[in-house]
Amino acid sequence: MNKPNIVIVHGAICGGCDVALANSEEAISKILENLDLAYWSVAVDSRLSDLKSLGKIDVAVFMGGVRTSEDEELAKWLREKSKILVAFGSCSAYGGIPGLAALTSPIELINLVKSTITTSSQYKSIIELPKLPELSTYRALPHVVNVDIVVPGCPPPIKVVNEFVNVLLKYIAGEEPIGPLVIAGSKAQCETCPRKPRDLSKLQIPSIKRIYEAKIEENRCFLEQGILCLGPVTREGCEHSCINVNMPCTGCFGPLPGFEDVGLRYIAGILALVAVEREKELMEQGLAKILDKLVDRLGVLYRYTLPRSRLYMLKLSLEGGEYAR
């Protein structure tokens, strides 16, 4: 059988991307029809040694972020061996939610885990963890190796997974990859957002409200109601699955083309627009009070994209090594 092969590999995952891929009937059937599923540890019984013994790899799908030195080695090995490397899911593409731990040192992370372990043993002080792989600097896949396709989403929605497989098949048929190709729109969510603002001529954000503080009106723009929606700085393509169920966009589809840092764009635009009609009345003090309502800055601004942010790059560059200034 000379079907091209495909391997699906994990870094730091939650399992959601595997479920998303398995759930996408059309995509999964096309894969199984056209490709030889050589490695997928959740679906096919195989060991890492089986993966390593493959002669060539046509398509490698990497889910999850690069957390441990093992993940890093694997990513680099895959890039060498594979024709097409795919960053599947927001963790792989941008860092994802585990990225929020990137600012905590590996040592502190381990200590944190140790401090939460409880035991009924009388020898409480002696707690041993199983042998853990070495934690390295947390990164998104594209920061470790070049990727050919990026499939964003937490997890990627079915429509996007199907589109990804179509692109994959085209590449396999011989089309030249122009990477990295992101399977998402290049405009912001606002372009096709189903919610209509009250004032079609301009956007006004009178204050900042946390979700539980507002009685959220359906069909009305979130920002107008003071709810911080990341739509304006996030790629479209997800068919607004969160927005349609009365939850603001949290940014899992990642930044618009040409940007890396979602948070800086957000503070430059949306947060600068807050209470703009009352600036002179509120003055710095009043404005600061309103901005302080954003308590979880990293969680809101960088929920999925922290390891790809400019500020993270700055931090890495100051630590020396390959990113040194």
Binding site: A188, Q189, E191, S201, K202, P232, Y266, K280
Partner: protein, 652 residues
């Protein structure tokens, strides 16, 4: 977006400025370093770059080396940008392909360490070089102007602006909400401090407006829509039906006599009645009666008494509201004020007792043409007033009502007290005050005269309560005298409240004009000291109390100022603007509308779902450029790319 099409060929010219620069900065070294910068094909230094021979060097280099961009490292642009811009234009290079590196004010004049000053100068030159490489060769933005002005408000402010403009040859459209021009000044009896008769100085101006060939008056009208921008405004004016043909009305008054409907007179502020067909006051302009449709019985039971007695058939019940469209180049807002509703200060009993009145009502009582023909009689029983109490700061300077000072009340209260004392021999007048504000010419002297010569009793303290003694029918005023520390009870026939001024500009109109206003509703001027009659919206001006509390002299001065500013705009054939404005790339725009809210000038609007910049309104601040979540907007010659390169150039 702003990349020039050809490869940059930059010439760098370092000025010594005598020893001002060369004494500290190693200019030869700067030339050397400049030559090594990308795209720099020529670099030289000279003792005085701004001199004629210095400029010749630049021109020569442009022609010989085919330079398409120039950096002059010298003093500040404020000093010599224009000098060098004209020099390069003389040899055919666009003036926007010039940047200056400020190595004098920012380096040689402020540092002593020569090595460091030179290093800094080199960095400043580097930044200027990377910026100029991406400057677009721009042309100024031009737009024609309609030589016509719209004045909103027909009080003394609006009248003054209209006459100033019309006398200078500019056609004016004057729109007034009420059936006559004249405003609040027409209600006044005398004006302080000269005690001129208000009507005597106002009515000739009103007549001048009426007969001026270049002024078109719309009364009983309101501006309901404004679109366009400076030089080219399109306005819609709703002209309400008057039901009386202005040209045919002879002011005979027969209609008024037979009209069966009586309602409180607005002009006399409820102190007397008028009919449903009425003229606000005899000298009204336009000189014609008007029917108040809401109260007229024509539409209830077909009453036509007035129609039958009118000798000239001037009454026309078929009249209709009209929507008129006009094109104008400038708009001047002169919407004036009204008094704060004094009934909100429950302690004073306004609205509860007929003998507690506000200052405009007192003006009507004083007025010879008013409800009491100038006799000072109190409203409840027409008893002659022997004792009057004036209360200042009613609503003003009060954290619960109006926080600001209404400016004119101290003066007009003194005027009221003086006139009262003149007309009522043996009369007693009391004034309860907090402070006396009398800053104008002759004002302090006027107050002293009222206190000393006319012996008006000034009591420093607040009034706690006003009520009527049911036994005697007297008004009783209870207040505190802070200077003696005693509680006072004053019995009076009449109590006059010096109520605060509030602006009358409707919120919808301000939005349509895109002019900001403060929390009280007063129009916000462009700069409180240097641009007091302009608003941030180009082409829209403000004058009079619409801008803030002020007296007639200041109002007239401001009105003339607004007229002068308007003329400045209208007398140029084109409005020419610096082209350093923002530009939207529609392909990148997602229609999120963040930019529209950020722009202080209202220069951005949504057109077919995407943002668009009005180049005439954009002032080039760049707030929208930073705010755009999609980076779809850039600022000409100050793009994000240029600034990023400049940052790298100075820091690396």
């Amino acid at each position: 977006m702003s990349l020039s099409s050809e490869e940059p060929r930059i010439g760098v010219f370092i000025c010594h400025c005598g020893l001002n620069i060369a004494g500290v900065v190693d200019v030869k070294k700067v030339v050397e370093e400049a030559k090594r910068l990308p795209h720099v094909v020529h670099a030289e230094d000279y003792i005085y770059m701004c001199s004629a021979p210095g400029q010749e060097l630049i021109k020569k280099a442009i022609l010989e080396k085919k330079l398409n961009a120039v950096v002059v490292a010298a003093c500040t642009p404020t000093m010599h940008y224009e000098t060098f811009a004209r020099a390069i234009e003389a040899v055919g290079l666009n003036r926007y392909r010039l940047e200056m590196a400020v190595i004098r004010e920012f380096s040689s004049w402020v540092h002593v360490d020569k090595k460091k000053a030179t290093e800094k100068a080199i960095k400043l030159v580097k930044a200027a070089v990377v910026k100029v490489a991406d400057n677009s060769p721009l042309e100024p933005v031009k737009s024609r102007t309609v030589r016509k002005a719209l004045v909103i408000g027909g009080g003394i402010a609006g009248i003054t602006v209209a006459l100033d403009l019309a006398n200078a040859g500019i056609p004016v459209i004057l729109v007034e909400k009420t059936p006559t021009i004249g405003g609040k000044m027409a209600m006044l009896s005398e004006t302080f401090p000269t005690l001129d008769c208000a009507q005597c100085i106002l009515t000739p101006k009103m007549a001048e407006v009426a007969r001026h060939p270049l002024i078109k008056i719309y009364t009983n009208s309101e501006v309901v829509d404004v679109s366009g921008f400076v030089g080219n405004f399109k306005v819609k004016i709703l002209q309400r039906a008057r039901y009386v043909k202005i040209g045919d009305c002879r002011l005979c008054g027969f209609c008024e006599r037979v009209c069966p409907v009586k309602v409180p007179s607005e002009f006399n502020r409820g102190l007397s009645d008028r009919k449903a067909i009425y003229i606000p006051f005899p000298q009204a302009i336009p000189p014609a009666y008007v029917i108040d449709k809401a109260n007229c019985r024509r539409w209830i039971d077909g009453c036509d008494k007035c129609l039958r007695v009118c000798p000239t058939k001037a009454i026309d019940f078929n009249d209709e509201d009209k929507l008129v469209e006009e094109e104008v180049g400038v708009i001047i807002v002169a919407t004036g004020y009204d008094l704060y509703p004094a009934e909100r200060l429950k302690e004073y009993g306004y609205g509860l007792y007929r003998d507690v009145i506000d200052s405009l009502q007192f003006e009507r009582i004083l007025s010879a043409g008013g409800p009491t023909k100038g006799l000072i009689l109190r409203p409840s029983d027409r008893k002659p007033v022997k004792r009057v109490v004036f209360i200042q700061c009613v609503g003003s300077r009060d954290i619960n009502h109006l926080e600001y000072c209404s400016k004119i009340c101290c003066m007009y209260t003194a005027k009221h007290a003086l006139i009262f004392k003149e007309r009522v021999p043996g009369g007693e007048a009391y004034v309860f005050y907090i402070d006396i504000r009398a800053a104008g010419k002759g004002y302090e002297e006027f107050i002293k005269r009222v206190q000393e010569e006319f012996q008006v009793n000034y009591i420093r303290g607040r009034v706690n309560r006003v009520y009527r003694d049911p036994k005697t029918g007297d008004m009783v005023v209870v207040g505190f005298d802070t200077l003696t520390g005693q509680l006072l009870t004053v019995k009076a026939d009449l109590v006059v409240l010096a109520t605060g001024l509030v602006p009358q500009l409707p919120y919808e109109l301000a939005s349509k004009l895109k002019i900001p206003f403060d929390k009280y509703g007063f129009v916000q001027e462009a700069h409180p000291k240097l641009r007091p009659v302009e608003t941030v919206t180009s082409g829209v001006f403000v004058c009079g109390v619409a801008h803030g509390p002020k007296d007639i002299a200041e109002t007239v001065a401001q009105a003339s100022a607004a007229a002068a500013k308007a003329m400045e705009l209208l007398y140029s054939e084109y409005i020419v603007k610096e082209p350093l404005v923002a530009v939207v790339d529609r392909d990148l725009c997602s229609g999120c509308r963040v930019c529209i809210g950020i722009c202080p000038y209202g220069a951005l609007e949504l057109v077919e779902g995407k943002a668009k910049v009005n180049e005439l309104l954009c002032e080039g601040c760049g707030a929208c450029v930073v705010a755009c979540p999609s980076r779809a907007i850039e600022l000409r010659n100050y793009s994000t790319k240029q600034l990023l390169e400049m940052v790298k150039a100075v820091v690396k």
